[in-house]
């Protein structure tokens, strides 16, 4: 509004110029547009789409021809590859698949991979070529909402018809009915020089090379002032100068020139040159011979390699493999090594030049597309290899009839391989020496937010046990890219990260056009440069994806030009151009896996986005892409951010500002975005809430009642938070909330509220507060056996012994939906054959079947309801029957609740409404929280939430509490909230004058009271409480079983025992450790000290070793002790007991 007035002022006079600062354009509207275009899990979808559209085609093109090794004329050529619609073959009819159907009937959501082929057939000895199109070589699991998915581009209504929730983000796979996400994997970037120190503190430069053909790690390390190359293929470290000479760089002078004129570099290299000379290595020939002696012996090399010289081959193919060597021209590689050496020396001279491994710009995120493409490449190659092998075997057979190459590529290998990798999460790709576990996880469907959070999670590369703080610490460079709050507590703290709201992860872009563009813009080709020119001052090296293209004399202008081209859309929007002034380098990156985010471009501090742009956006004349196309917005990756000066708000922009943030709250991720006023909270509290939000019960999805998950927690009356944030609206938490707005009084009450316990109002619980539904899946299989017999489900017994247990069964032997089920009730009356091995002929008698009914095992004394019964066929063609059992629970003492500020607590007591305090307006809180929860936690955000909520219910407007939202109007200010409160007759402090419900007298203090959004967490006493007197015992040791599920005993552990010893309660120890555990009476022979036995026939105890019953004593031992003696005896150790009179 203010801006509009200002615009009108333009015409008037200088007043406009005198106006202090131009008010900021509200750029918030861009966010929903961004999410509309990119979506919350766009990184997964983009990656998968790239794989399907480009990656897969490249793989097939690279391996397009397979030829028999026996007959070179027999071949098969792939002409094209594509993915069809998700479908399944039922009774040899192709049937379209919907994701929901896959979930319900435990099948894989996969689409056939079609190829068009040209191949050789042979019939009657005559060879001919044939073509075939749409040959299915396997099935590809399809990511939901990707371009191959049935749901792609569908609107809400169509999604509803398919049984899909429109708010579900997709980005996961359905494998055998379970939803699986491939977690984002974090890795160090490939093909980049990283300077750091090794364990001994020596400076080293390392490159992880990764090309399609080979992966290798090259390390150049400075040890005792001399520089060495360390490579797996060499037994020991080899002097770098020898390597340079072996690559044809015979002149020491040129090497020194390549490092630059500064004498310091020459001086640092001198010891290495001297060492090389001491080995009498002067020429390339000498160097190669020298290196030949260092090559690791055990390796097998083919004849051609032997001829060429192993050292040569290693230097060409393994040593910094990402730098291509054309026609044995090693010049590029030499230059590259020189740059590595120079960077290393810079780091030695100036420690600041060291690279930071934890820097986000040095990391790459590996997404599902890349991982699948590795897997697919391996499987595809294996398929081809095996096809060739089979064809060779067939062709070698002397008598053969028809031959058709195309029949050898339709095996299920690809289908099975992909499915297995996704369902187990094990990426076992021998070809790429890859052996990773736990790559996929089952999508957590506990809460909607938990599901979303899973899609943005980043799995670390490091093992969790490492005791270093570096990788766990918050990196300044993760601003805006990774959420600073959302990380788990405990061992994975700081390693597992989450993407921020606006983060985008790039996919690979073609390098070819960029390279030629660079040369057009004045990059001097590296091959044409002399060593001296390499590091000439005022010229910058141009490095594209780790490959040195050449150098440029006017790098600033070059960068400007490149960026202009990017903004104009002439080159890809995710290409980053980063000028590193320290290193005199200009890095261009187009590789996949970089994290980047959109920013508003500013010219000399003035935002390019004007009010009219936003208006056009509002009117629907624009979308996010048009902003991008017109160069108002661009994506910056972490490296390029270093070249930008980014203002948080338009008003703060100075003349040097190049970019302006879209919205500051986008630095947080999805989970942290739920917290109102997180910037007022102590930081760990936000982290706690991020973990707890995922355990909160509420709505899972719109299709929650149609799902058949093993466990679903739902809230009966979920609400939308009174105090929302913009993120909540963007992700749809207001539609699928997980909590309720409770009126909270912050006061102490009854003493049942210590240690964060909360006191709850019984009437509120009666009316539905915190009421939840727990649904469990029970399954039974109608098994078929090898001898043609099968289980049978039969009519229940209506009278007799078991009639009571079978009350809820229908006439078909299955529990009827809607029936109330109690523990020990039979829900399926099934009988199995006694004999499942031998074939039976004739009619089978009734006695052939034995009962194998299944009974419901739930908490004793609670009743549940059969919600649904579903019949389906499983993979082995058996009928499987699935029951959903529903249990509605009201909160009870011990259930866990939490606000959105990391403040969890259990219900301490439930109090009648009349005993609850009340205000003279008649307001009575739903729960009471102890004020001791505040001082040490410092969750000021919770207090503001209470104020804002109170103002919200009084004035009828949802208040906002977005992170850092006060300046931009996305969070209400406390002053404004207080004003609203006063206007509606409340105290500006949010405190109320309260009467005690017990005495009717006013309380001595004003009570801080108002609505706070409370989450009910999945931990409930009903699922946890456990106690036992006597009960089941383990067969072997005769000690009580362990664990609640086995009705186990409660262990008196070491520490408890220590307490009892210290206290001197010897009889108690005796009772706990023996009498109540595993007492056993043994006969001990005093002569030999071994255990005897009691012969009940002779009514006498006998020692079996002495064959004597004379000197036998009885005593009590723990059974485990007797077991130990026997086990010791069994391994030839004789434990003898020596008894004394007690």
């Amino acid at each position: 509004m203010v801006a509009k007035e200002n615009e009108q002022d333009v015409g008037i006079d200088k007043q406009f110029l005198a106006a202090p600062v131009k008010s900021a354009v509200d750029k918030f509207q861009l966010l929903p547009e961004f999410l509309k275009v990119r979506g919350l899990v766009k990184q997964h979808l983009d990656s998968f789409n790239y794989f399907v559209r480009t990656g897969m085609k490249n793989i097939v093109r690279a391996n397009k021809e397979i030829r028999s090794t026996v007959d070179k004329n027999v071949y098969l050529r792939y002409k094209s590859v594509r993915i069809g619609e998700p479908s399944v073959v039922v009774n040899s009819v192709m049937d379209q698949l919907s994701p929901h159907r896959c979930r319900l009937s435990d099948i894989t959501y996969a689409a056939p991979i079609y190829v068009d082929i040209e191949y050789v057939t042979e019939s009657n000895g005559k060879k001919s070529t044939a073509t075939k199109s749409d040959v299915i070589i396997g099935k590809m699991p399809i990511m939901l909402r990707s371009c191959c998915c049935l749901l792609y581009g569908k609107d809400e209504e169509e999604l509803a018809r398919l049984g899909e929730c429109p708010l579900d983000p997709g980005g996961y796979f359905i494998v055998k009915g379970t939803e699986k996400v491939i977690l984002i994997q974090e890795q160090l970037s490939k093909n980049r020089i990283i300077i750091d120190t090794d364990k001994k503190g020596c400076v080293q430069a390392s490159v992880m090379s990764s090309t399609e053909a080979r992966k290798s790690k090259t390390v150049i390390v400075m040890e005792k002032e001399k520089i060495y190359l360390s490579l797996n293929q060499f037994e020991k470290k080899v002097p770098i100068m020898a390597v340079m000479k072996a690559m044809g760089m015979e002149s020491d002078q040129e090497v020194v020139q390549m490092l630059g004129r500064d004498p310091r570099y020459g001086a640092l290299l001198l010891p290495s040159i001297e060492e090389c000379a001491s080995h009498h290595v002067y020429t390339q020939q000498e160097a190669l011979e020298f290196l030949e002696g260092k090559v690791a012996k055990s390796r097998f090399y083919s004849a051609s390699v032997e001829k060429e010289g192993r050292a040569m081959v290693i230097l060409r193919d393994v040593f910094v493999a990402n730098i291509p060597v054309r026609e044995n021209n090693f010049r590029l590689k030499c230059m590259y090594v020189a740059v590595m050496l120079r960077r290393m020396m810079e780091a030695i001279i100036n420690k600041d030049a060291m690279d930071d491994k934890d820097y986000v710009g040095n990391k790459r995120l590996e997404l599902s597309g890349q991982l699948l493409s590795l897997l697919f490449e391996d499987l595809f190659k294996t398929l081809n290899e095996e096809a060739v092998k089979e064809v060779d075997a067939f062709l070698n057979k002397p008598s053969r009839s028809r031959f058709d190459f195309s029949t050898y590529i339709t095996r299920g290998r690809i289908t099975v391989g992909l499915e297995r990798a996704l369902s187990t999460g094990n990426w076992d790709v021998k070809r790429f020496r890859m052996n990773r576990k736990g790559m996929t996880q089952v999508v957590a469907r506990l809460s909607f937010i938990g599901t979303l959070g899973m899609m943005t999670r980043i799995q670390p590369q490091f093992e969790k046990s490492r005791k270093v703080s570096g990788p766990r610490a918050l990196q300044p460079s993760q601003w805006g890219m990774l959420c600073p709050c959302d990380t788990p507590e405990g061992e994975a703290c700081g390693l597992v990260k989450n993407l921020a709201l606006m983060t985008h992860v790039t996919t690979d872009q073609e390098e070819g056009p960029i390279i030629s563009l660079c040369y057009c813009l004045g990059v001097e080709d590296l091959e044409l440069l002399s060593g001296e020119e390499l590091h000439a001052p005022n010229s910058y090296l141009i490095i594209l994806n780790g490959l040195i293209l050449g150098k440029h004399r006017r790098p600033k202008q070059f960068a400007q030009a490149m960026r202009k081209l990017r903004r104009a859309g002439k080159i890809g929007e995710f290409i980053s151009i980063f000028v590193n002034e320290k290193q005199h380098c200009l890095y261009i990156a187009s590789d996949g896996g970089r994290v980047c985010r959109p920013l508003v471009i500013a010219d000399r501090g003035v935002s390019r986005i004007k009010e009219h742009h936003m208006k056009e956006l509002k009117d629907g004349m624009r979308n996010f892409d048009s902003f991008l196309r017109e160069g108002l917005i661009e994506y910056l990756d972490v490296n390029e951010e270093n070249n930008a000066l980014i203002a948080l708000y338009e008003g703060e922009a100075t003349i040097d500002t190049t970019h302006i943030e879209i919205e500051p709250f986008t630095i947080l991720g999805v989970c942290a975005g739920l917290i109102p006023f997180p910037h007022h909270n102590q930081s760990p509290r936000n982290t706690y809430q991020c973990a707890m939000g995922k355990q909160a019960m509420g709505n899972i999805a719109y299709n929650q009642l149609c799902r058949m998950d093993t466990l679903i927690y739902l809230l009966v009356y979920p609400q939308r938070p009174l105090l929302t944030t913009r993120t909540i609206e963007l992700v749809g938490y207001d539609k699928l909330g997980a909590g309720q707005n409770a009126t909270v009084a912050v006061m102490s009450y009854s003493g049942y509220d210590i240690e964060d316990a909360i006191v709850m109002n019984k009437s509120s619980l009666d009316r539905g507060f915190g009421r939840c539904i727990v649904m469990k899946k029970l399954a039974a299989v109608h098994q078929k056996y090898a001898n043609n017999t099968s289980d049978r489900i039969i009519r229940p017994q209506r009278d007799g012994r078991n009639a009571e247990k079978m009350q809820i069964l229908d006439e078909d032997g299955l529990a009827a939906p809607g029936e109330i089920i109690r523990p020990q009730d039979v829900y399926i009356y099934k009988q199995s054959p006694i004999d499942t091995k031998n074939t039976i002929s004739g009619t089978v008698p009734e006695s052939f079947y034995k009962d194998s009914w299944q009974t419901y095992k739930g908490p004793e004394g609670e009743t549940a309801v059969v919600d649904r019964v579903a019949l389906s066929t499983d993979r082995n063609d058996n009928m499987s029957i699935t029951f959903m059992i529903r249990h509605t629970r009201r909160p009870e003492v011990g259930d866990k609740f939490s606000s959105r500020h990391g403040q969890k607590g259990v219900c301490g007591t439930i109090v009648q409404q009349e005993d609850f305090p009340f205000s003279e307006r008649g307001i009575c809180p739903d729960l009471i929280m102890n004020p001791h929860g505040f001082p040490s936690r410092m969750t000021v955000g919770k207090m503001i939430e209470l104020l804002g909520g109170k103002a919200g219910v009084s004035c009828g407007r949802f208040h906002y509490g977005s992170a850092f939202g006060e300046p931009s109007g996305h969070a209400d200010k406390v002053e404004v909230i207080s004003e609203t409160l006063v206007k509606h007759g409340f105290s500006y402090t949010g405190k109320d004058f309260i009467y005690s419900g017990i005495t009717g007298m006013p309380l001595q203090a004003y009570i801080f009271m108002g609505p706070i959004y409370y989450q009910k967490l999945k931990h409930m006493v009903l699922d946890k409480m456990h106690a036992r007197g006597s009960g089941p015992k383990v067969m072997m040791t005769r000690q009580p079983t362990e664990g609640r599920s086995r009705n186990g005993g409660l262990r008196v552990g070491e520490m408890e025992r220590d307490c009892l010893i210290a206290y001197g309660a010897s009889m108690l120890i005796y009772e706990r450790l023996m009498i109540s555990s595993d007492p056993f009476e043994v006969q001990v022979c005093r002569k030999c000290g071994l255990l005897g036995y009691y012969n009940s026939k002779l009514k006498a105890a006998i020692c079996s070793t002495c064959k004597d019953g004379e000197k036998i004593s009885t005593l009590k031992l723990p059974y485990a002790c007797k077991l130990l003696f026997q086990e010791l005896q069994s391994m030839n150790i004789v434990p003898r007991l020596q008894l004394t009179e007690a």
């Binding site: 539905g768 529903r886 003279e920 109320d992």
Partner: protein
């Protein structure tokens, strides 16, 4: 009790406002214990009738059986008759089955959506076997007919969905479950006594007076247009927030106003759910309170009273 000074007081009630579901009255000459007892009884011990047992025959709606049962239970039913009904647990006629006319009322609900439009199943669709116990009608008595106001929504049906059930309503009290509580809001406040020190007030300028008046979040004071005197408009609007006292202190005039709570007079606000008329609710509460006291008095002269009440019993007998 003879010979001992009686503490008996004679409370008075003055009704300020009385509507079907709303009552505001003053209770004077008594203390907080009595006022609070009355409030507590109104919330938790005045009996009403509410649906307690639901037998579902057909339910193809989106809400599950327990969900519906819970919602039905919370529907307020007109319960004028509740005081004379029996609790089904001590009903002789049906041996505590809770199925007889003395202790229960049967309801039927049957709805099926056949059209394309969403059908709202509301409390109006509940058919009662007893015309005295029906779902509370919230349609405005003032006359204007609002077609959208069709009672309390129980569930919404889409085409083809059906709901058929039988429900039994029983008598109960709010202590057992909030659905039996006839009170939506029962609250009282101490009547404030406000004294303005007009002399001191006159020493203030008009602006200062205005800021004094504005300092109260509720509208308690006002400046008279003619005399420019600060006067009390609504002393009961005062929420004991002490804002004006703080303001007076900040202005350097402590004692500008004096406010204290009259400890023997209470202003009650009673809002009913509609199950019982607000006035009846108060009367019923008094009856029940009396009955409770009777229970104490009955055991007054028995020996057990001493065991039962200990010192309290002795005290009550004037010991």
């Amino acid at each position: 009790m003879d010979g001992i000074a009686s503490y008996q007081r004679f409370p008075t009630v003055k009704i300020r406002e009385l509507k079907d579901d709303y009552a505001k009255f003053e209770l004077r000459n008594t203390d907080a214990s009595i006022a609070n007892a009355l409030r507590r009884v109104m919330i938790s011990e005045v009996p009403t009738v509410a649906i307690d047992l639901v037998e579902i025959e057909i339910n193809s709606t989106v809400l599950n059986d327990e969900f519906l049962a819970h919602r039905l239970g919370l529907v307020p039913l007109t319960s004028e008759r509740a005081m004379s009904m029996r609790f089904s647990r001590d009903c002789d006629a049906c041996d505590g089955d809770g199925q007889c006319e003395f202790c229960s009322v049967e309801f039927h609900l049957r709805a099926k959506c056949i059209g394309d439009q969403t059908l709202d199943v509301t409390s109006k669709d509940l058919y009662s076997s007893d015309h005295t116990v029906v779902p509370v009608d919230f349609s405005d008595a003032s006359g204007y007919e609002n077609s959208e106001q069709r009672g309390i929504i129980i569930v919404k049906l889409r085409r083809g969905q059906e709901l058929k059930l039988r429900a039994i309503a029983r008598k109960g009290i709010g202590k057992d479950h909030a659905k039996w509580s006839p009170a939506a809001t029962v609250t009282f406040m101490y009547e404030p006594a406000i004294h303005i020190n007009q002399e001191m007030m006159e020493s203030l300028t008009l602006d200062e007076k205005q800021s004094f008046v504005d300092s109260s979040p509720t509208k308690v004071f006002e400046i008279d247009d003619e005399t420019h005197q600060v006067k009390i408009v609504d002393s009961e609007a005062y929420a004991y927030d002490e804002e004006v006292l703080k303001k007076a202190e900040a202005m350097g005039k402590p004692g500008l106003v004096e406010i204290y709570a009259k400890e023997d007079s209470f202003i009650f606000t009673v809002e009913s759910t509609g199950a019982v008329k607000a006035s009846q609710l108060v009367l019923n509460a008094i009856d029940i309170l009396k009955q409770k006291l009777d229970a104490v008095r009955l055991s007054e002269d028995t020996v057990e009273a001493d065991d039962q009440f200990g010192e309290l019993g002795a005290h009550m007998r004037g010991g």
